[in-house]
Symmetry: D4
């Protein structure tokens, strides 16, 4: 564990072999580890070395050991503006849980239908930290930050096309949120968002 | 008049002389003309040639003749997300009026305080076209378009700093609005927004 | 229906399962729905749930129910600068029709051969709203807006290569149209353009 | 107060008059308010209306009432990579204090001389939230986040020239921080960074 | 003379002294020289050294000797889309003349009013090379290239605002011209455009 | 033929069917036509309709009729800075020939080995127009333009990686050529470069 | 050999045939040559012509003759911030060796765990030139340059996602390194970095 | 001194007071210091504290003590492509000298007139390191690196306009130099270039 938090292995640029070798070190160890952005063939190799590891295909995450620790600290809420933002939102959700917080997911609360997010206000106000994943216009974090006192962690997603520029539009929107209290992480960085949420909601 | 609409003279790149010469042609004519993005010294020259022309310093607009025509067609509403968006919003407002529509202005209804825009919903629903000027995150048009059936004309403003990139962030947000019905014009283009509103709300 | 207009389901970032589940809700319902940017495998799943749905391969659109409503409001014209702009133009055309307007398509009227667009002027002047899809230089909307009094909805397409930058060049051209009356939507956003046209030409 | 936090007035795009009018409302009120990015002539007008207001020239901040509240919650640390980052760092520092946290400033701990930041490690580990202001390469947040368990709020500054692109280089560095736990705000947004720190370190 | 063409001195980044020293070398010489992008104080210094030199304030050009050579080769036509493009168009016009071609200027023939450029078609077809200066959407070269057989030299100008991005929008439009036969030069580079025209129309 | 030059059909965004239908019109016609950026399956369809058409795989060009016209006008020279620039250079070469000029190709004369281009100087000086295709730094046109009096048509290629940004680096280099006489076309636009060369070298 | 250094053949844009033909010239020659960025099918062809050539799959490099020369000059150190930077780091390492220097590789010394790079300081100080390959935030060169007196050659890698923008973020970080002594090369240009290191450490 | 090299104080973002306070520490000290990018009013303050300090207005540099150390190591050559690149070239020249190397300056050797740089080849080959400052197309380093065996340090300058984008065009050119052996530093960073040259040419 690094500074009290589990280690994460960024699998995107790694070969199957490199990932498997890292997994081998964990066998029979109590140490928590998250493998992020895993490809199918890496998962196969990982599950050979660590057959009990938990794999979430949507979040592209392998976790070891498979069961998250007993939650401590405050509750975290993860919002996905649309269905297409789910992979990123789920990566945040699971990361937060494996880092030891209680966390829930709310989907399809984009600003095009305000009643959906307004209906969640009481629940939003119970959270110690809120992760908001949104693509296209990325407008949801501005709206949420205006409704709660807790910090909002905004994750731009690459959902969209054309002038969405692979998430750049949403990223800029979030950096310019007209409500204070918005912390931005990299495009599609559900892992980073979940990590920050776990730190902010730490006991 | 071009295709039934008054001519506009874009004064930004013109010398005082060039602008004055254009004004001279209008003397004693019934023809409507708008001088947009006028500089102080151009105004002085214009008012020498056309002493009765109307000048709005905030909108940087000189109009001739000074009184807008009797309004026809549907009502137009112009929204400014914040006080700093007023110059652009006002340019849109006056343009719409000089093109013959009834138009009103609503200020300070940004998405950081949703109750402000929600309080305007009945009024929003009476308009045939809505202009929304917003800078920074540019999130207001997405929200407004989700609340009304009329077209929303979104004008990104250069209000903001850093990653607002002189209005680029707001422009991209608006182009990616997650609600349909958002028509985008150039950054700070209050004139173009007002023109479009007048065309859409034409009788 | 949202604010009087049919709902659209943006299928790009969704799994086959997610799309099929949404379709299931529509079975035996009178509610109009458009599935945009559908992939082949999504279409198969959709047609299993809704065998009578209309599918347009070029526009990548599935519509339910298959027959557009009886048209009301003013006529809409959709222009495609070149043959390669057809998929986007057709998405706009069909969206407009399913939203209840009469709409026609004119192809291959790019500015490199001015006589082609000049030959259409009388027809252009009958429309209440004109959609123009153009890639590469994106110059057609400027020219069309100078010829008519109705609003022009400009859709930049990603047609081209090199410094076309996937439609960015055409997008910027359209935002800077030297004729007023040009409303811009996202690159390749035929759906959004058609929606706006239907709103503007509403009775 | 908005959601428990003082209101801030963004003075950059406002006229002297607009700012003075807002100040007038505060006279004889207990309500806390921060005027950010004030220009010299705005300060003069503000101090006429609120003679006891606190003005910090380096942070370009006017605060009312002048004395910050008694601090609650955890301690906050603000780091400035170099002397040139001081205006932004100080804006963060004062914002945090006026929002009710205890906050300290550490200057000139850039990564070009690692011993300087290494000497601060024990102190860094006492903070509940750390703000890091850095321009040019913006590398300091990555290093700090690797040394502590608390969240790091990274503020890119526009310090530098050429390929620093007015803070863009530092912004990208921070969004790509190779250590987790880095929350990014807009370029030169000391106010937003301080606000987030106060929220995170809230009791 | 370089390869048969006069030398040009790019004065933008030079001190008054450096420019004056270059002029001194020309005294009493038959050698043709153009000083481009001259500032007022450089002109004063130049005219002290070369009192008979020709100075054109709009084109920011000083020429020595003051009278262009007797024209040879084919005629060149320079078009300015709008009045604001005149400085760049005039720099091209004078450069072409000082390089030995016959050249004429046509102003205000932008595509928003097609009849203006259509009225010039017979004249356009007499030219051996056509320079087109246009800002904002930069659409004019596409249209002109579709009307003539001679090469079109397109000069984007920095006229416009917002998403014109200082001439970038016009530059991209021109690089993507949907008609072949468009040669592009740098933004505001009237000198380069005129030089190319003179080369193309050389005897 | 358009304005005296053969028509070109841009095949990139077209279906096999659309291309075949265009070819059918040409059967038994004397009209010259170039099919540019053809894909393998389009070629098969084209050769079924026009079995005698000429196909150049490297240039991705199909020409009909297969034999270029007897050359008129001045000679054209096409330079490729490196072997990887050959597809673009060849597209230019063949276009020039099918438009009726005599044209030759010189390969591998990049500026990293100056002696190679210096050895070609006498030959360079015989051309009426020179096309230069170069990727990466795109420096070759600046050097060539300094050596000859004829116009240089610079085609940036997408050869390179990283900060070559798909040809953007070379494009910018060419637009900023420190020698006058450089005409720039779109990235990888060998067709446009060859067309311009044929126009410039026309009799 | 060019100016005393082996020739390199950039294989990315070349056909298998072109590469094989170049190899044929080397048969039975003492001349050193490096084939960089080779694709699998090019390797097969190369090894047919030069069966003894050395091939490193990770570095995508084929070297001829297979054994590097006896090293002269000072030692070079190549650092890879993370495992994913290995392909680039290895390309630099091998290039340096084939150009005649002694060179070693140190992996996984990113700034997120400072102790790793601090443990290498004595070793770092023995090098005459240090190559640092890093992606994402690209912060490592700034830190290393602050620890040594030798020049640091920084190679940004395309490792990362989202706002890493294919290596652009790391590139900008390195160009803005707050410590002097950082020489930057193109994204993923391990070959160029190794070449520079060999030149700097030449005897 | 940092790692054996003098300290540099980056004065751009500092107040006159901050700079003066730093100077005060140097009084009566043997320590070498360079104040870079000094503004006029900073110079006045510096010379009050250190009356004997050397000030170079063109390079915007103040050095203390005023006389460079006795040179050691190999000779360094600084090239300026044009006169406008002189300020940057001179900052490099002086930095190199104050860091203890012998250094010379060669001006006006841009690639538009190849004979100028070719005439310098013998001199170029005597240098242990060559700094090349160039703006606009930034093509000179590619050419120089092809002529010598020593490393070339390329400094893009912000000389130019339009698509030079304040030095970005030259920066990209240099990063993509088609000759190996080019080390790039930030736009206008003469200080960094001179520092690298001094390190490379160290004894
Ligand atoms: N092709 C499209 N382009 C842009 N927006 C779309 C498109 N299709 C649907 N939408 C919008 O996306 C929203 C639905 O998103 P979702 O809930 O993710 O299906 C709807 O409100 C539509 O207005
Ligand atoms: N306005 C201009 N824009 C672009 N290039 C120019 C301009 N004026 C002169 N030049 C070129 O710059 C070179 C002169 O640069 P210099 O030696 O710095 O005066 C000449 O070779 C010209 O071709
Ligand atoms: N490879 C090409 N690059 C750029 N423009 C082209 C190319 N090939 C054809 N064109 C132009 O595109 C137009 C034909 O477009 P289309 O009608 O879509 O086939 C012609 O007028 C050509 O000038
Ligand atoms: N002109 C310059 N450009 C880039 N970096 C510089 C410059 N001058 C000084 N520096 C670096 O900036 C650091 C000093 O920054 P500071 O402590 O803010 O004065 C030193 O370590 C120098 O390496
Ligand atoms: Mg959203
Ligand atoms: Mg807003
Ligand atoms: Mg077009
Ligand atoms: Mg730093
Ligand atoms: Mg125009
Ligand atoms: Mg080259
Ligand atoms: Mg790193
Ligand atoms: Mg140069």
């Amino acid at each position: 564990t690094r500074r009290g938090y589990p280690e994460a292995i960024f699998c995107q640029g790694k070969t199957v072999d490199q990932v498997a070798r890292i997994a081998t070190v964990l066998v029979g160890q109590p140490q928590v580890a998250l493998f992020t952005r895993v490809r199918e063939e890496q998962v196969t190799a990982l599950l050979e070395v660590l057959p009990d590891a938990a794999y979430d295909a949507e979040a592209r995450l392998v976790a070891w050991p498979p069961v998250p620790p007993e939650p401590t600290g405050g509750p975290v809420l993860v919002l996905a503006a649309g269905t297409s933002d789910l992979p990123v939102a789920r990566e945040a959700l699971l990361t937060t849980r494996y880092l030891g917080r209680q966390a829930d997911l709310v989907v399809d609360v984009g600003v095009a239908g305000l009643h959906r997010i307004l209906a969640q206000v009481p629940r939003l106000r119970t959270a110690k930290a809120i992760v908001v994943a949104a693509g296209m216009d990325g407008a949801l974090p501005s709206v949420v930050a205006g409704l709660v006192a807790a910090p909002v962690i905004a994750v731009p997603t690459s959902v969209g096309y054309g002038a969405a520029f692979e998430g750049l539009a949403a990223l800029l929107t979030m950096l310019n949120a007209c409500a204070p209290g918005v912390a931005v992480v990299n495009i599609d960085n559900g892992y980073g968002a979940g990590h920050l949420a776990a730190q902010i909601a730490a006991p």
